[in-house]
Structures are given as C-alpha cells and as structure tokens.
C-alpha cells in the first residue's frame, strides 16, 4: 500500500503526513511537485503549508505543478486523494472540489485544537469513523474560510458531501461550519483541519486523526 505525499516548494506538513501513513501501516512515497509521474502510488495526500509562498492565491500556482496534472487525471479515474489545509486549497483551485477558501473572518491566523463532527463516512478517508463521530484535531490557518454559492452549498448538503463540520466554535467563518467536503464519487476529500497532527499521544491532542489513514488502508486493500 503506497501513499504518495507531495512536497511543493513551501509545503510544511509533508513529513507529518508521511509519518501518519507509516503509523497507519502504509508505505509513504515522497512525490516532488515537478514529478511527471506518480511512481505507482495507490493514493495521494496533498499536505499543508504555503506552497509557492501562497503567491496570487493559496494553491493557485501549485495547481499547475506537473505532478498535479497526473493527480487530477488519477483522481478523475477514482484514485483516493486527500488535501489537508493548503492541500484542500489546491484541490479547490484545481476544480477537483467545489468552492474556495478565503481569509478567516476573524482576520487572524487561528492555531488551536478543534472539535469536529464527521458527517460523511462514504469516502475511503473516513470509512473507519461512525457517522456523526466527534473528533479533536489541530487547526492552523489564516485562509480557511470555506465559501461557495448557495446553490453549491445546498447541493453539497443534499448529496451528503460535507465530510466534516466545526463544532462549538467556527474558527474561520466557513459557510455552514464546513471543515471538509468531498467530490461526488467520494474519492477526493479536502479538509482544513489537520488529522495528520493527531496520530500520536506524544505530540497531538488525540489520536483521532489516525482513522483517516487507517480508513484509507482498509479501503484500498478491500478494492
């Protein structure tokens, strides 16, 4: 089970993502932004950070990286892809997920442990959670406000494509408390909070995030 973790210039969380894959029992494979192939991986994680310095818009330059062309093609063919934080922004810019992420309504960078509810377990990344599961994972972003037009939001809700919602306190002004969404097929998931930072009791607020990675392994083995 090989899981690619992409490093763009400015990525920060690629090592933690690779470690989460390893702790879940998978083999992380480092992918470079300039790679023109995916080295036979079964799934891909786009990690958090500030790819290309967040120039222009978060994710706007990264979406045109050579490796992204391959990822878009593979995602459209059903390969599981998880975008975390900056990775979520890249997936939205690439058009693999609807909506966009804008500057936090609070105008401040938010870094804290965040309670979430998992609202969609129909994805390879969340199938190990029970529906409605509440988890606590870190969140850290300055531009994490999820926005989309009303029609798109209604469609996401009607089709059960909101993967996770903020509980207690919405950290960034995201419409309808949306913390993560999936594509129609379910293989592509974007999430603003960081499950890869909650995989080890030594360094995280919980180990709730590990389920994203164990779910993936179970899903790919079953496929």
């Amino acid at each position: 089970m090989r899981v690619g973790v992409v490093t763009f210039p400015g990525s920060l969380d690629d090592r933690d993502a690779a470690r989460a894959v390893r702790l879940a029992g998978g083999e992380p494979v480092a992918l470079w932004h300039a790679d023109a192939d995916l080295h036979g991986v079964d799934a891909v994680v786009l990690p958090g950070g500030f790819s290309y310095g967040d120039y222009l818009r978060c994710g706007a330059i990264a979406r045109f990286a050579p490796v992204m062309e391959r990822i878009v093609t593979a995602a459209e063919a059903g390969m599981p892809v998880l975008g975390i934080c900056n990775g979520f922004q890249i997936l939205c810019e690439a058009g693999l997920l609807p909506g966009a992420l804008i500057r936090n309504s609070s105008r401040t960078f938010v870094c804290r442990d965040q309670r979430l509810r998992i609202d969609s377990v129909d994805t390879p990344w969340t199938s190990g959670y029970s529906p409605g599961a509440e988890i606590v994972v870190p969140i850290k972003n300055g531009e994490g406000g999820y926005v989309a037009d009303r029609e798109t939001l209604d469609e996401l809700e009607a089709e059960g494509r909101v993967v996770a919602r903020y509980l207690v306190d919405n950290p960034n002004g995201s419409y309808r408390d949306i913390a993560g969404v999936r594509n129609r097929r379910g293989n592509v998931v974007g999430l603003m909070p960081h499950p890869e930072h909650a995989v080890d009791p030594l360094t995280g607020p919980s180990v709730d995030g590990l389920v994203f990675f164990t779910s993936l392994l179970a899903a790919v083995v079953a496929a």
């Binding site: 222009l56 818009r57 810019e93 936090n104 105008r107 037009d149 002004g173």
Partner: protein, 86 residues
Amino acid sequence: MPRRARVVVDVMLKPEILDPQGQAVAAALPKLGFGGVVEVRQGKRFELTLDGEVTEDQLAQIRRIAETLLANPVIEDFAVRLEEPA
C-alpha cells in the same frame, strides 16, 4: 524604442464574498480621523505589458489568462482594459 502597450486586469472578490481585509481597512479609517467611508473592498490589479499594438486576439487571450490564473471565478470577478498611452 519599440512601442509597447499595457493591459490592466482588475480582480475583485464577488460582492457576496466576505472581504475581511477590506473590513480591516474600513475599520482603521475612523481611528485615523477619516470620516464618511461606509465600505472598503480590496482587490488586485495586474499590469500586463505587450509588444506593439494590442489586437482583439490578444485581448481575448488576456481574458483567458485572467480566468485561468489571475482570478478564481468561483469567488472573484475580473475586468480587462487597455491602458491609454500617457
């Protein structure tokens, strides 16, 4: 010196999208003693310099550049205009 033309692309958040940066600027104005401004929206301006006269084809291409890269049509509107030479 070869003749050059400048095309300006203005990118603004759509009216329905919250603009926290514009709000922060608006909130600063009264503190600085400037009154009468009820709203500020912050956008981006791109200046594209081209060789020679700008053709309709080039303007069409710049509109494609704007919708592909300079603006995210999900949250932003853009306007393309030819800047008159000084």
